[in-house]
């Protein structure tokens, strides 16, 4: 099929306005929230499931790569078309199709914005638990693709714990439901396979999610520390005391500087670290937890502990925390964020190591992370325009991931593998693991056209990967 024939067919399906081919249009789809850029040939923005199915069929006949995209807020290059082809934006599939409070489920189209789900049910005392920092912009479909987490992952788990079923469109345009509105369906958990598949198996067009009931009382504290070591030890102590906060977040001095420069919320600029601790439950329980957390912070030597007085103070703390990545632009033109995980008890150690890495590579690293589950987000700040700086950044990034695995952790908590971490996936999986996974992928994507060059190192060779951890195809970096 020629390029023009394909474009004409797509136009006949979704209409002229929603097939973009001019350079001044497709160029904006060359990026997501990460530092990768590759321009798509065609961007298609279908308006319903039938159109998605027709686009899939056309792409199959044309033998063209297809990269699904939600809001494009991902941090690992998941929505960047590494091999060109079609970017399939699901932004127009953004209706909340059903809310069933009695059964506590909602059926959503993939382009629905994460926060809009909670907004739609909040007045009835419900919420949707997965809350990535980008929740004001990221899509539910993107969350499914990346099995996204968020600050409240600590208490509620990640996306897969909240998805009951998905409607998907396969490579041949076939539409089917995997899982459903009830949990515990028999047979293979195919829905589970799609969650976290990063667009390598098909396109999700509906998502059935679990809704949760808002707790009677939510209390949020901000603990301020003059030493990072003291802050990390406090995290260990809080969880050791048997309190499971709903969220336990840490931000270091550099992150505070970014937030306070970009969109200030009142974090103290001279602190070495702050902890945001949120506890939930019945009133008596949260009162007790707040007092206990307060006492642990003080015993460890926190400079100050502030308890949010009302909802607007709470919201302000979260605004600062959730805007932290985006605020990095206030300090540097580019940031490269890692997503490593370490066992909680190793937090003091890993933070020391990251400080050493920062010094060794002469790069500023801003740490903002889910301390409660040891999910780190070191943001390496840099300027792409300075020759050679990017190489140093990649090396420093690899060094932080190596440090995480050395301490018994993992290379990604919640951002997905995408382009960014596929070179490191060999640090975590054996060749056999990867081959098993790639056979599953082939069942759904025999032509290797769905989000190609993602997730798996190509060709699979862990030895190669280990020797050359920064083996990212040339030209993928900006």
């Amino acid at each position: 099929m020629s390029r023009n024939a394909l474009i004409n067919e797509l136009r006949a399906v979704v209409g002229d306005h929603y097939v973009l081919v001019e350079k001044e249009d497709v160029i904006v789809y060359e990026q997501d929230g990460s530092i990768f850029q590759v321009m798509p040939e065609i961007v298609v923005v279908p308006g319903n499931v039938d159109e998605v199915a027709a686009v899939m069929k056309a792409a199959q006949r044309g033998g063209v790569p297809i990269v699904p995209r939600g809001s494009g807020t991902g941090l690992a290059g998941g929505a960047v078309p590494a091999e060109g082809g079609i970017v399939l934006s699901l932004a127009r599939l953004n209706r909340i199709l059903k809310i069933d409070l009695q059964n506590r489920i909602a059926i959503l189209e993939p382009g629905v914005i994460n926060l809009d789900v909670t907004k739609a049910v909040a007045k009835d005392g419900f919420f949707y638990a997965p809350d990535p920092s980008s929740q004001a912009a990221c899509s539910v479909g993107g969350n499914v693709a990346n099995n996204s987490g968020g600050p409240h992952t600590l208490a509620y788990g990640v996306t897969t714990n909240h998805v009951l079923g998905v409607e998907v469109v396969l490579d041949n345009g076939q539409v089917l439901w995997l899982g459903g509105e009830v949990s515990d369906t028999p047979g293979y958990d195919l829905c589970g396979i799609f969650v976290g598949s990063e667009g390598t198996m098909g396109v999700v067009t509906k998502v059935a999610v679990r809704l949760m009931q808002t707790r009677e009382s939510v209390r949020t504290l901000l603990a301020i520390f003059d030493e990072m070591d003291v802050a990390t030890r406090t995290v260990v102590d809080i969880t050791a005391a048997g309190i499971i906060p709903a969220a336990l977040e840490m931000m270091d001095r550099t992150t505070i500087e970014a937030v306070e420069t970009g969109s200030p919320v009142g974090f103290p600029r001279d602190a070495e670290a702050v902890l945001i601790v949120e506890v939930e439950g019945v009133l008596e329980q949260t009162d007790r937890s707040v007092n206990l957390v307060h006492a642990i912070c003080q015993r460890n030597g926190a400079r100050e502990v502030r308890v949010a007085k009302d909802d607007s103070e709470r919201q302000l703390l979260w605004k600062g925390r959730k805007g932290a990545f985006g605020a990095m632009g206030a300090l540097a033109p580019n940031y490269y964020v890692q997503d490593g995980v370490v066992p909680r008890s190793k937090l003091p150690e890993i933070m020391r190591r990251i400080a050493e890495i920062s010094k060794r590579y002469n790069l500023r690293i801003a740490n903002v992370f889910h301390a409660g589950d040891g999910n780190l987000h070191p943001n390496i700040l840099f300027d792409m325009r300075i020759p050679g700086e990017l190489d140093r950044v990649i090396e420093a990034g690899a060094a932080t991931l190596r440090a995480c695995t050395e301490l018994g952790g993992s290379i990604t908590g919640e951002h997905g593998v995408g382009i960014e971490k596929k070179a490191y996936i060999g640090l975590l999986f054996t060749e056999q693991d990867l081959e098993a996974m790639s056979r599953i992928r082939k069942v759904f994507d025999p032509d290797n056209r769905f989000n190609p060059a993602k997730l798996f190192p190509t060709p699979i060779s862990c030895g190669e990967m280990r020797r050359q951890p920064a083996n990212i195809p040339a030209g993928l970096w900006i």
Partner: protein, 439 residues
């Protein structure tokens, strides 16, 4: 596997555009938090019509990766310049500066004819208050004659629509009848007021009301002579030369007045005047003066809430909803002050609408240049308003008032639209007449 029909293209490199290579571009880390706050992205769900997309387009043009084509221009001009993205941006990217600079290079929007007309208005009409008054007087004559009834059916559809959106020109144009207009009661401040280009012609009564409220709150009010239109429309539509001239004139006459604050009751003008320092940053003779000037500029609501209202306000038994003008909420970060003033009026019931800080589609002359998108946003806005069941919408900005009145004609008959100063003035004057009646 079959060979893909499509291959990655090498990226051609054209000539770079240094004037577009703004520092603000490097503050955007394309996190996407602006997307869902952008009215045009919400409507079309296309990245090209989002703040992040437009910033990327400008960056690509600055780098010489794309040309400044008509399509590029369309993307930049579909933006309402509401700056909701600036409120959402964690990095504090000043998107307005990026868009305005790009428009300056692109020139005014629209067809060749539209550009000629717009250029005439921006450079030959707005900078000349006397010409504006003549034009308005002519328009008033037209409106009061029987002509509209005869002419309207003969106009092309688009002009018909524009004609129907035109508000009645005020019977008397506002001009101050004393200098200064003295404070009533203890004197608390001396302020200068921007008369504005459109306000004294279409909203003569709002200016009069603003003056009365300021005086009742202990302000001597002056209207420096030789003041001029603020130039906001020029800056928003890619005209900067006349805009800079107007800014320099206003800086000179207002700084000469020696006042505590410069009061503006039109949000778009206030935002533009607070940014004269940016507009004139490369003008060595004016950069410093512009900074002093901009620091003095206050929206009327911002100033009064800061000063603290004095005097008795009569109860107004109305249920009202508040529309945040974009250039007040996003452009000037003034959100609580107008609400606090409304709460000071006894018995006024304030019902918040969903998305009160989302653009109503007025956006300067956007409702004329982009009627389709403007109408879409207006319809959404009127639905939010209707859901509150309020009888009154309050919007302290002339553009919003015109647009919302037009909206109420179409979707919400009976709905009243007022400037906040109208209501405060009414509460004060009713309190006064009731106390004088009691005596």
């Amino acid at each position: 596997m079959s060979e893909p029909a499509l291959h990655k293209q090498a990226q051609p490199h054209g000539s770079k555009i240094a004037t577009l290579d703004l520092p603000e571009l490097y503050q955007c880390v394309h996190c996407g938090l602006c997307l869902n706050q952008c009215p045009t992205y919400r409507a079309l769900r296309l990245e090209t019509e989002s703040p992040r997309g437009r910033i990327h387009l400008v960056k690509a043009a600055a780098d010489g990766r794309i040309e400044l084509t008509e399509r590029f221009k369309d993307h930049l001009y579909l933006c309402l310049l509401c700056r909701a993205c600036e409120s959402a941006c964690p990095s504090g990217v000043q998107y307005g500066h990026i868009a305005e600079t790009a428009r300056e290079i692109l020139g005014p929007p629209g067809s060749k004819l539209a550009r000629v007309v717009l250029n005439f208005v921006l450079t030959q009409l707005l900078p000349y208050p006397q010409r504006l008054r003549w034009a308005a007087a002519l328009l008033r004559f037209y409106q009061q004659s029987g002509l509209p009834r005869v002419l309207r059916p003969l106009l092309p559809e688009r002009l018909q629509k524009m004609e129907s959106m035109l508000p009645p020109i005020s019977q008397h144009f506002f001009s101050p009848d004393a200098d200064p207009l003295p404070a009533i009661g203890a004197r608390r401040a001396k302020v200068a007021m921007l008369n504005g280009c459109v306000m004294p012609l279409f909203f003569s009564e709002v200016n009069a009301a603003t003056v009365r409220v300021l005086r009742r709150n202990g302000c001597d009010v002056v209207f420096p002579r030789n003041q001029i239109c603020c130039g906001a429309l020029n800056v928003h539509n890619g005209e900067s030369e006349a805009a800079k001239k107007m800014a320099r004139r206003n800086i000179d006459v207002f700084l000469d007045a020696g006042v505590d604050a410069i009061i503006v009751n039109a949000a778009g003008c206030g935002a533009a005047m607070k940014e004269y320092d940016h507009l004139l940053r490369n003008d060595p003779a004016y950069a410093e003066k512009a900074k002093r000037f901009s620091a003095l500029v206050k929206d009327a609501t911002e100033f009064l809430a800061g000063l603290g209202l004095v005097g008795r306000l009569a109860p107004l038994k109305i249920s009202a909803t508040y529309q945040d003008p974009c250039h007040l909420a996003h452009g000037q970060r003034v959100r609580n002050q107008p609400r606090n003033l409304l709460k000071a009026i006894p018995e006024l019931q304030l019902k918040e609408m969903d998305g009160s800080d989302r653009c109503c589609g007025s956006a300067g002359i956007y409702n004329i240049t982009h009627p389709g998108m403007s109408q879409h946003l207006l319809k959404e806005k009127m639905q939010s308003v209707a859901a509150t069941q309020a009888e009154v919408v309050i919007a302290p900005n002339p553009g919003c008032i015109l647009q919302l009145r037009y909206g109420s004609q179409q979707y919400g008959p009976g709905l009243k639209v007022y400037h906040l100063m109208d209501l405060l003035d009414r509460a004060y004057s009713e309190a006064e007449s009731s106390s004088s009646n009691a005596v």
